[in-house]
């Protein structure tokens, strides 16, 4: 495992009195695809929101590239090179596809670089080009997911966080999303993703964490994950393939 680019240590995040994260510790290796599994309500989204600065941790440390970022404002964290593709995509529904991408590049001021990146996104996601002047709210779920990924990439992140990118999408679209995840990773982006679809995640991820009730309960390679009897039953179905 190469050096970690993201190190989360003993992070506690609470909503009022309820601690959603009860001391989470994990690391994401540079250049890897790291996948966080876990049941609903385990704290997966809370961890993503805390890492991206939307939620402030009550205590603990989040280091990105060696620098402490816990509790910093989201725009500061984006500036350092982390972008989140949020759960349920959260595109800007009343803005055009082109404006959604422009908003993703909000912190950049290199006009030609931005224009090149927009073209690159249209190359990677041809459907977005066809719908460039359409309002994002009129896109299908799969197209919105593509747009959310493209928007996050417009900030040129070193680390891409993805919160359940396959949620509510048809199997063919899910396959496409995972193909894109693998591609992005091959092009050098580190990816930390939350996923319920363990079967798909097993095909691309290099390392797995399992989070239950706000604590990390498993850390290991895809092989170790597939070997673990309990996890296999809960996340991969009982039959061994």
């Amino acid at each position: 495992m190469s050096a970690p680019v993201l190190e989360i240590a003993d992070v506690v995040t609470a909503y009022g009195k309820i601690e959603a994260l009860k001391g989470v510790t994990l690391a994401v290796a540079e250049g890897s695809i790291t996948c966080l599994l876990g049941p609903n309500g385990a704290g997966k989204t809370t961890l993503m929101m805390t890492t991206s600065g939307i939620l402030k941790p009550r205590r603990g440390s989040i280091r990105f590239g060696g620098e402490e970022i816990a509790g910093r404002a989201p725009h500061d964290i984006v500036a350092r090179g982390i972008a989140l593709v949020p759960e349920n995509r959260l595109v800007f529904p009343h803005m055009t596809v082109a404006d959604n991408l422009a908003a993703g590049a909000y912190q950049r001021d290199d006009k030609t670089g931005i224009a090149e990146d927009v073209e690159r996104m249209y190359g990677r996601f041809p459907r977005l080009k066809e719908r460039a002047t359409q309002e994002a709210g009129t896109l299908s779920g799969g197209e919105q997911q593509m747009l959310a990924v493209a928007r996050a990439l417009m900030s040129r992140p070193k680390l891409l966080l993805m919160d359940e990118p396959s949620l509510g999408l048809a199997p063919l679209i899910v396959e496409e999303i995972f193909r894109i995840i693998a591609e992005l990773n091959r092009d050098g982006t580190t990816i930390f993703l939350v996923e319920q679809n363990a079967h798909m995640a097993l095909k691309v991820a290099h390392h797995f964490y399992l989070i239950e009730q706000g604590r990390v309960t498993f850390s290991g390679s895809p092989g170790a994950l597939a070997e673990d009897e309990v996890i296999r039953r809960a996340y991969l179905g009982s039959a061994r393939q």
Binding site: I54, P74, A79, A83, P86, L90, F92, D99, A103
Partner: protein, 303 residues
Amino acid sequence: MFVDLVQNTLDGVMLGSAYALLALGFTLIFGVLRRANLSYGPAIMLGAYAATWVHLQFHAGFLALAAVTIVGAMLAGAYVERLCFAPHGRRSTSGDAAAVASMVGSFALWMQLEEIATLWLPKHLYSFPPLYDGPPLALGPFTLRVEYLAMLICAIAACFGLHRLLAQTRFGLAVRAIVDQADAARLAGINVPRVFMLVFALASALGGLAGYLIVAAHEQVTPMLGMWSTLKGIIAMMLGGLGSLPGAVVGALALGLIEAHSQWLLGPQYRDLIAYLVLFALLALRPAGLWAMLRRATGPTAA
């Protein structure tokens, strides 16, 4: 009869453009922050008081007085923003409680700003130099007051300026993104508290401009200007449709026309009564406001 009708309509449009400037500022804050700023008018009033003070001390020209009103309104607006709106804007999961806290806070500051004004300049009424001292313009049988013509021009310029700002600039992109999906805007790297502050500054500047033109037209300043400005801004916004900028202009013009015509038909004591009746009727029957009605009547069917 016909001449009166046209003259009243002209007067209504002129009055409406003063309301439009007030309503644009109020609506900008409401539309972006989703918070009602009751101190909007009182901040304008404080700007007008600063200008009155400068007038009394130095007999400054109209440009200086306009600048002082605008800067004064912006400073008072910034004070309101820091105290009432910034602390609650930082939380992403703000909800209704924060909105109520902001509104109540802005009500408290309204009282405070009025106190400051009356401690500063304790007479109830101060005269204010007019923008233009000559007779009204005559257009055939009709007359137009130059001050109100200036308001109409400023209101039109403000509409176009705001539209361009929102549609074509980076700042406008940030504002639209926040209005559309605030959490996504944060995740896109937009510094939301800073954009809120700039929106407040812009709204206060528009309000300050409106305030200067209004006191220069009325040629007097009283502490009532604060409440009056907030009320006209709110009513125009509610008539037009909550949080919509074109709606604010439509609502402001409608308010001006309603006031001008009802004053002529029934007398000045009925003017506000009729305006409020129309507002209640509209809220009961068409709560989405006039702008939504116009769009439905003229545009293609909504998607």
